[in-house]
Symmetry: C2
Subunit: 338 residues, 2 copies
C-alpha cells in the first residue's frame, strides 16, 4: 500500500466513523442507509453519480421510472469485472488439476499439457491460449461428478495465491464492485454473474467471494449425464461443450436463465466478451444502465486494451458509462492496493 493510499483510507475511515456517530447522537436524524456513502471506494465522478441517480430513479415508488423488485436484475461479468483476470484464475486451477492428474498417473508427466503444468511453463499456456486450456479442461475437469468437482475447487482456493500480487485470490476481487453488489442488493436487486468462466468453478467461490449464490451464476458449461452409481444418482460431466458463454451467447444465456432483459449490466474491455449483454440490456423498454470497465491502471492493477478497441468503441457509440479504474476507483482491492 502506498503512503497516499494509507492516508486516503484513514480519511475514509474517520469520515465513516463520524457519520456513524452523527446518526447515533443527533436526535431527529434517522439511521437512513443513504446518509452513509454506499460506494466509498468510488470517486465522486460522473459514473458514481450516474449509478446513484439510476438506483434512486428505478426504486422510487410512484415515479415514472419505478421498476418492481422482480425486474431489478443486475448482471456482472466476472473475470476483469469482479476480480483481476491477469492471469486467468481458472487457468491456474486447471494447471493444478493437471498436476494432480499426473501425480495419480505418473506416465502423464512427459505429455503436454501436463508437463507444462508441472514445470510451471507459463509460455506454453500463454502461447496456446484458450485452445490448450480447452484440451486441458476436457482431460481433467470432465468425468468428475458435481460434488467431487466442488471439493477440488475449494481445495485450490484454500492454498493458491495470486502469482503477481502474492495474496489469496479472495483479496484480488475489486472492492468497488463488492460495494456496488451490496448497494444494489440493499435496493432490492438480484445480482447475477454471467461470465465466460466455467459455471461450476465460479459457483464454488461466488458465494464466499461476492455473496452471489449458485443459482445466480451463468457460465460456460459441459453437457452432463445423470448416472446411478452405488445406488445414488449423481451428475457426471461429459467432454461435450454445452455452451461457451461469451459475446452474443451471454445474451442468449441471460435469456435462458433469467428470462428478461437485465436492468443493469457491468462488464469490462479486454476480450470484447461483454458487448452482447450490454447491448441486450440497453434494448430493454424504459431505463437501463450499462457500465464498462477500462483497465487503464498499470500502477495498481494491470493495463490492457483490445487491439481494435471494440468494447470502448461500442460504449462510445451507445452511450454506456466507462469506468476508468485509474480515476473512478479510489481503492481497487479490499485490503488496500500495493
Amino acid at each position: 500500500m502506498t503512503g497516499s493510499m494509507i492516508v486516503k483510507n484513514e480519511v475514509r475511515r474517520i469520515a465513516s466513523f463520524l457519520a456513524c456517530v452523527c446518526l447515533l447522537v443527533i436526535p431527529g436524524i434517522s439511521a437512513n442507509a443513504q446518509a452513509v456513502d454506499p460506494l466509498p471506494s468510488w470517486a465522486n465522478g460522473g459514473v458514481k453519480q450516474a449509478i446513484k441517480a439510476f438506483v434512486a430513479d428505478v426504486t422510487s415508488e410512484g415515479g415514472a421510472n419505478f421498476v418492481p423488485r422482480a425486474k431489478r436484475i443486475a448482471v456482472f461479468d466476472n473475470d476483469g469485472t469482479l476480480w483481476s483476470e491477469r492471469p486467468w484464475v481458472q487457468g491456474l486451477f486447471i494447471e493444478q488439476m493437471l498436476r494432480n492428474a499426473a501425480k495419480r498417473d505418473p506416465s502423464l508427466g512427459d505429455q503436454q499439457p501436463y508437463k507444462a503444468a508441472i514445470e510451471n511453463d507459463r509460455e506454453f499456456f500463454e502461447k496456446g491460449g484458450m485452445r490448450d486450456y480447452q484440451v486441458a479442461i476436457r482431460r481433467t475437469l470432465t468425468e468428475l461428478n458435481r460434488e467431487d468437482f466442488d471439493a477440488e475447487v475449494q481445495a485450490f482456493f484454500a492454498s493458491a495465491r495470486h502469482p503477481v500480487l502474492d495474496v489469496p485470490f479472495q483479496q484480488t476481487v475489486y472492492q468497488p464492485a463488492l460495494e456496488l453488489l451490496d448497494f444494489l442488493r440493499a435496493n432490492g436487486f438480484k445480482t447475477y454473474i454471467c461470465s465466460g468462466g466455467g459455471v461450476d468453478f465460479m459457483r464454488a467461490m461466488s458465494g464466499d467471494f461476492y455473496g452471489v449464490e449458485t443459482d445466480e451464476v451463468i457460465g460456460t458449461s459441459y453437457k452432463k449425464e445423470l448416472h446411478e452409481i452405488d445406488g445414488k444418482w449423481v451428475l457426471v460431466s461429459t467432454s461435450e461443450l454445452n455452451t461457451f458463454n461469451n459475446k452474443e451467447q451471454k445474451a442468449v444465456n441471460i435469456d435462458l436463465h433469467i428470462g428478461q432483459r437485465p436492468l443493469l449490466v457491468m462488464g469490462n474491455a479486454g476480450g470484447a466478451g461483454d458487448i452482447g449483454m450490454l447491448g441486450y440490456s440497453q434494448g430493454r423498454e424504459g431505463l437501463s444502465l450499462q457500465l464498462l470497465i477500462d483497465h487503464n491502471d498499470a500502477a495498481r492493477e494491470f493495463a490492457y486494451a483490445e487491439d481494435d478497441n471494440a468494447s470502448l468503441n461500442a460504449a462510445k457509440k451507445n452511450g454506456w458509462h466507462v469506468i476508468s479504474m485509474k480515476d473512478d476507483w479510489l481503492t481497487i482491492y479490499p485490503q488496500g492496493d500495493n
Copy 2:
C-alpha cells in the same frame, strides 16, 4: 361447487377469521404465522405432517438439520403438479397460434396441423401426441422475438377458458400447491418450476399464477440468436431444440440453472417425467423431501396413471411421500371444486 364444499369453505373462512381476531385482541399472543394453519387445504394426514415437520427441522437455527437460506431450494414440476394437465394447456395455446397464423396466411388453412386447429379437431392432436405438437411449435412459435412471444401468451390467457371446467386457466391451479409455495417462501425457500413445458410460455404466466418469477423457471427451450433489428438487439428463436426438459434432463437442467441438489422436489405421476429430479434431490447430503402427486380423483379433477406405474413404484422403493389428491387435498381449486 358441491354443497359439502361450500360448507367446508365456509367453516374454513370462519376459522381463519376467528384466528385473526384472537391474534388481534388477546394480549400476550404474538402475531405468529405458525398459529394459523399455513396449509388449510391439506387434510391432517401423514403428508401434511411430514411437510410441516420437515420445514420446521431445516429452519431450526442451531438444530442438527438446519439448512441456510441459500440452500433452501424447492423445485416443482408444473403440468399436473401446480395446475391440471388435462388437457395440456400449452397445446391449446399452440392451437391458437396455428389459427392466428392461418388468419395471416389463409393458404395454410387447408394444411395440417392448421386445419385441425381451425376445426378444433381434438382427435387429430390427441392421436399425434407430442410429435404433431413439436411440428406445430416449430412452425408457429419460433422465429418470434422474445417480447412478441410474451405478448402472444398474455393474449391467450386473457380470453382462454378450460374446455372441461369452463373457467379461466388461473382457476385451474391447485390451491394446496399455492399454499405450499407460500409456506415455503415464508420459511426462506426459493421456489422453482422445472417442467417439460416451454420455458417462455411458463414465464409469461408463472408470476401471476404462482408468484414464481421468470428467473425461477426451468423448461424446454429452443436455441436463440441475438440479431440487430432496426438498431435494437433482440433475441430470435430458431427451430433447433436446445433442451427437452424431461426425465433425467430435469436433473441436468436443475444443476445447470441452480447448481445444487434441491432440498425439496414435488412432481406427479403421469408421464414418469419427475423421477429423475426426485431421485437427484434425494441424493443430497442430509435431509431432503420428495413429494409425488397421485391423480386419483376422478370426481374433482382427472384420474389417470402410468401403464407401468413407474413413478408410484419409484416412490415406494425410495420412500417418497405420495400425495393422494382424493384424500390429502380438501380443496383442489382456489375458487372451490365443481
